[in-house]
């Protein structure tokens, strides 16, 4: 349903995305995952026809977006990263306007507006002006306008960004109700990607670094993971010693929790031998190892592995 073929986009001399190729099948929910500046929004804008590719093709429902933008856009519901609404319009009137722009005739439009208002939980603010909505409701209105016209494909750019934790949970619950549609959403929240999406496409520095189902990506992590160690010793010297160990990808210092010693999270390519080396290094340094345990690998570990320190 969505196909990107060797998409490359330059803005002047700045390369935004390079040779990006991936596909999303009908009814599939896929995530574009990557740190800020990875090129997620550019890929989404290429798919909506907001910008044209320097080379390569973006196809939606078999239609080349650059060649037939209006036809392609009829099949797309788009939620931009920054949802901007006309403040002078009420939610209902705004959605009616979007429905009309999307070509929905009178009665059908009224029904569709009522349906998205209900589906997105906008009933109590339907007659409120957009300018007076909270960020959470604005995001819901953004999703509602994307859903209008029942588009075959939904392109959602960071749908939970800027929301408080409660609003984010509500938005994720709303996104779960979209199952059965073809959805491409971008996020830098790994938990969100693995919770909502069957397929994950990881972008870094404008290119695809991995593309697979969340489960298969998890399997690729076998052998990788984190060690949580609590050590009684000078924190800077300990961190330096841990980082120097072979097989250690990164070291993070944990927050103070009132217990003795300092906790460290050690990212390791292969935790078992690193655990032995870590114990030996602590003893050699004359410090005390209070605790060490392995944490099961997460998608985040893979993410760190693939995109390196660019995060």
């Amino acid at each position: 349903m969505i196909r990107c073929e060797q998409l490359t986009k330059y803005f002047g001399s700045v390369r935004a995305v390079t040779d990006v190729s991936f596909g999303v099948g009908e009814g599939e929910v896929a995530a574009l995952l990557g740190p800020n500046g990875a090129g997620k929004s550019t890929v989404m804008r290429l798919l909506t026809g907001y910008v044209s590719p320097t080379s390569g093709r973006a196809l939606v429902g078999g239609v080349d977006v650059a060649e037939q933008p209006v036809t392609a856009r009829r099949q797309i519901g788009y939620l931009p990263e920054q949802v901007s609404l006309y403040p002078e319009l009420t939610v209902r009137r705004y959605l009616a306007f979007v429905g009309e722009v999307k070509g929905l005739p009178g009665r059908l439009r009224r029904d569709a507006v009522a349906q998205v208002i209900e589906c997105c939980g906008l009933g109590e603010v339907a007659d409120r002006h957009n300018g007076k909505l909270s960020k959470g409701y604005r995001q819901r209105v953004g999703l509602a306008q994307a859903l209008l016209g029942d588009p075959a494909v939904l392109v959602l750019d960071e749908p939970t960004v800027g929301l408080d934790p409660v609003q984010a949970v509500e938005m994720r619950a709303l996104l779960r109700t979209l199952a059965g549609r073809t959805v491409l959403l971008s996020t830098h929240n790994l938990a969100e990607a693995s919770a909502l999406c069957s397929r994950v496409i990881i972008l870094s520095h404008g290119g695809v670094v991995a593309e697979d189902t969340a489960e298969r990506l998890g399997r690729r992590l076998e052998g990788a993971g984190r060690l949580v160690a609590r050590i009684d010793g000078p924190p800077d010297a300990v961190a330096q010693a841990l980082a120097a160990l072979p097989g250690v990808v990164g070291v993070e210092r944990g927050a103070a929790d009132g217990q003795s010693g300092v906790s460290f999270v050690v990212l390791a390519s292969d935790p078992e031998p690193v655990q032995r080396r870590l114990a030996a290094a602590i003893v050699a340094g004359g410090w005390t190892l209070l605790e060490v345990r392995a944490k099961p690998p997460t998608l985040e570990d893979l993410f760190v592995r693939l995109v390196g320190s660019g995060t």
């Binding site: 935004a16 909506t48 209006v70 403040p87 319009l89 306007f97 722009v101």
Partner: protein, 248 residues
């Protein structure tokens, strides 16, 4: 077409839902009314019995044209600058709608507002006609000229509005060149002698002159339509520039 109508209606709703348009209309009609009154007194005192088209209506339409130079930037400044500032332009440009339809809907709505303002001045000929009937056809030509003139000014304003997200800047940069051109047409001595024929040929104001005395010259009509088209084309190129600039 439905998409165009939807946007056109939304633009009209935005205009008439905003207090600005009523303030502009009040100021426009106040100034136009003042000019009508003073020009009529002048005509009655010094030109009564002479050709009313040349000695009264022409003067009045040239004055109304000047009021339009102030009114139109206030109407066009928000058209695209506001969409840029709010960030609504990105969504608008990703709906199944051609860029041309967006530009046409915005320009069309602005011209409807200008036509409504001009319709308010129809009271003047009605008043005069009741006292002293006169040929109405030349007057219709003058109104056509005002609409064509407004088309150029509005399309230029739309173009400027597409360049910035500041409404104030858009309004200022629309009004300033129009006023400078008006001053130049008013004081040709300020232009270099060599440049004068060129300035006259492209002058917005010289091409309006025949309309104000009731003459429709197709060359003038073509000039106004061409100039409007030129600014519409330039606006479309600015919208297209998102393709390489990567920003709204």
């Amino acid at each position: 077409m439905r998409s165009f109508v939807a946007l056109f209606r939304k633009e009209l709703r935005s205009y008439f839902g905003s207090p600005l348009v009523y303030l502009v209309a009040a100021a426009f009609l106040a100034y136009a009314g003042y000019y009508f009154h003073s020009d009529l007194i002048y005509f009655i005192t010094f030109g009564f019995g002479l050709n009313i088209m040349e000695n009264f209506w022409q003067v009045l339409f040239v004055d109304i044209r000047l009021v339009l130079i102030f009114a139109i930037p206030l109407l066009t400044m928000r058209l695209l600058a506001e969409e840029r500032r709010l960030g609504t332009l990105e969504l608008l440009l990703t709906y199944p709608l051609r860029d041309g339809a967006i530009v046409a809907a915005k320009l069309g709505a602005c011209l409807v507002v200008v036509a409504t303002l001009l319709a308010g001045t129809l009271a003047y000929p009605l008043l005069v006609f009741r006292v002293e009937p006169f040929a109405l056809e030349p007057l219709a030509a003058a109104y056509l000229g005002l609409l064509l003139f407004a088309g150029v000014c509005a399309s230029y304003g739309l173009f400027v509005s597409s360049l910035t997200d500041s409404q104030v800047l858009a309004g200022f940069l629309t009004a300033l060149p129009l006023l400078l051109l008006w001053l130049l047409s008013w004081n040709e001595a300020a232009a270099a002698t060599g440049a004068l024929p060129v300035v006259r040929a492209i002058s917005l104001f010289n091409h309006f002159q025949p309309f104000s005395v009731g003459v429709i010259d197709l060359r003038d009509v073509f000039y106004f339509v061409y100039a409007t088209g030129l600014f519409v084309w330039a606006t479309l190129r600015v919208l297209e520039a998102r393709q390489w600039r990567g920003r709204r």
